[in-house]
Symmetry: C2
Subunit: 333 residues, 2 copies
């Protein structure tokens, strides 16, 4: 900074003011300093400025896994939003560590970030409080807790809409494939299941759900079980697309035609869903990320109130994996 000041023939403060866009500098001086900085390809050290301002210019994003499609897309949205505000994005993947007691302490969050965004972390109240201890705003994505800033979708409504779609087509034997990891099921899992169950109940039909491990394998197994029932379903709703993909594989191997013999529907609008022509529920994770990022920026600027909650819309994407059951008179008969 000294060098820039010398080169522009001004003091350190002036350079500082220019470089951080503060007012109160003569336009020509400003230009001069700017040029000097450019020529020396000098940029301020966020480290040093953060030391005095107390702001780091960084936001931590915590995700359970990075490999899954959803997180990459959500991160893209968050990243774009943060860039608008000139904030850097620190990414922490807490997959394995999550199980450990006090995992939040393992991350060097305190005083190293201006805010924390968690994506689909399904935090307990206890964990939320631990993160509050970091002393910066916490924004929850994919989870809605009272009084907390969050961006989420209505999983109940989404699953209910999907179920209704199948019922409207004339199906009555509609099964559901859900997921559970060991004994623990996520909030979104529970909500989607509830959406399905309540819609079935409202239609006077009894719910029929098979719960397996998440992922393609789980879907394969679950569909295998459904197919070996004495009276298999004519439509199946999967908790998310990856499960549906697994189910689809089982169907293909078993020679069951989709949607002719069985309607299959997913949830997420995973990129692979398009390939398989899978009817699904879109949840626009990029927009969710973008919204969460902007919300965070707003909270940091004080323009958005803490505790703001944003519900993102979901939308059914009709493709060719769902149709009216054979031999019945549904909507399309």
């Amino acid at each position: 900074m000294r060098d820039v000041a010398d080169r522009a023939g001004v003091s350190l403060s002036t350079v500082s003011r220019v470089l951080r866009g503060a007012p109160g500098v003569a336009p020509q001086v400003r230009r001069r300093v700017q040029r000097a900085a450019d020529e020396l390809s000098y940029v301020v050290s966020r480290n040093a400025s953060g030391l005095v301002t107390g702001r780091t210019g960084r936001v931590a994003v915590i995700v359970p896994f990075l490999q899954e499609w959803y997180f990459g897309v959500a991160l893209a949205g968050i990243s774009d939003a943060l860039r608008e505000a000139d904030l850097d994005m620190l990414v922490y993947q807490v997959g394995e560590i999550r199980a450990r007691e006090g995992w939040t302490r393992a991350l060097p969050l305190r005083r190293n970030t201006d805010a924390v965004i968690t994506v689909s972390m399904d935090l307990s109240e206890e964990e939320c409080r631990r993160l509050d201890d970091v002393g910066v705003p916490l924004v929850l994505v994919g989870q809605c807790e009272r009084e907390r800033t969050s961006v989420y979708i209505d999983n109940r409504a989404g699953a209910a809409g999907a179920t209704r779609h199948l019922l409207n087509l004339g199906h009555t034997r509609v099964a559901y494939i859900g997921s559970r990891n060991g004994s623990w099921s996520s909030g979104s899992s529970r909500h989607r299941l509830e959406g399905y169950e309540s819609t079935m109940a409202r239609a006077g039909l009894s719910p029929w759900s098979v719960i397996r491990a998440p992922g393609i394998e789980g879907g394969e197994l679950a569909m295998g079980e459904l197919l070996s029932d004495h009276d298999p379903p004519t439509a199946v709703l999967a908790e998310f697309d990856t499960i549906a993909l697994g189910a689809h594989r089982t169907l293909r191997r078993s020679g069951v035609r989709v949607p002719t013999s069985l309607s299959l529907m997913g949830f997420d609008n995973h990129e692979a869903a398009a390939v398989l022509d899978l009817t699904t529920v879109d949840q626009a994770p990029y927009d969710t990320g973008l919204t969460a990022g902007r919300l965070t920026v707003g909270v940091l600027n004080g323009t958005t109130e803490r505790g703001t909650q944003v519900e993102m819309p979901t939308q059914i994407i009709l493709r060719h994996s769902t149709a009216a059951p054979r031999g019945t008179r549904g909507l399309s008969s």
Copy 2:
């Protein structure tokens, strides 16, 4: 830090020494300080320590896009490797900005990161030099440049192996679908195409390639074109799985059976490839990321020489989308 020192009844220096694991502290004092820090849930500010040491404890990872499957997986590997060394991961997505002249300057890298890892950025020599200007080690992933630290796969060999697989099955009309974004094609695109072409040439067959925009749509279009040839291919190799997925969709819609009427092969081992039973070339992006992360740590510690190059293996994953052509006597006839 003051608080911790008081609580433990020692000086600031002692706390500092304990917290950064420096030698020269009595074991019992060490424990006492440790406990005091824990009780106050105190962690050192990387910001402040970095100011003195010149190290930030952060590594910047630059990716073109975050949405694509490959990057999420690679990031997961990098993240795990960096965590081992207690380094934080800063992620920059440079999608749109990339086109702008001097995009490297738009990222606050200088003095804000200890190293830079680029993933599939296909940097020009010029861009590499710009990043060198940041003054920290540069590690290239998915790209190999002379003299530069890099982790990559042999795309030529991978594509050549894939082509040979199809030739070994007895195919002679083997087409290739490649990608190009506008007039620009990436290094890996070129290498894969070369691998295909040289293998065809060596077998005395003339290459037959169709180049389209990348992604599912490109694959759909390209396959459409191949199918409308007066003498369509009996086998098709796609530059990557997403293209193959698009091609697959066209085939399904056209009623062409895979692999009965046409063998289809991809490259990447995308998660969706398993669903479609697509034969492909695995390139283990997680391991690539992990290796790159560890390499970076090594370079930072001085245990690994700069300029180290690591070639990651590729492997053909045989599934059910490839088979001997009908009516010929290939390997399996």
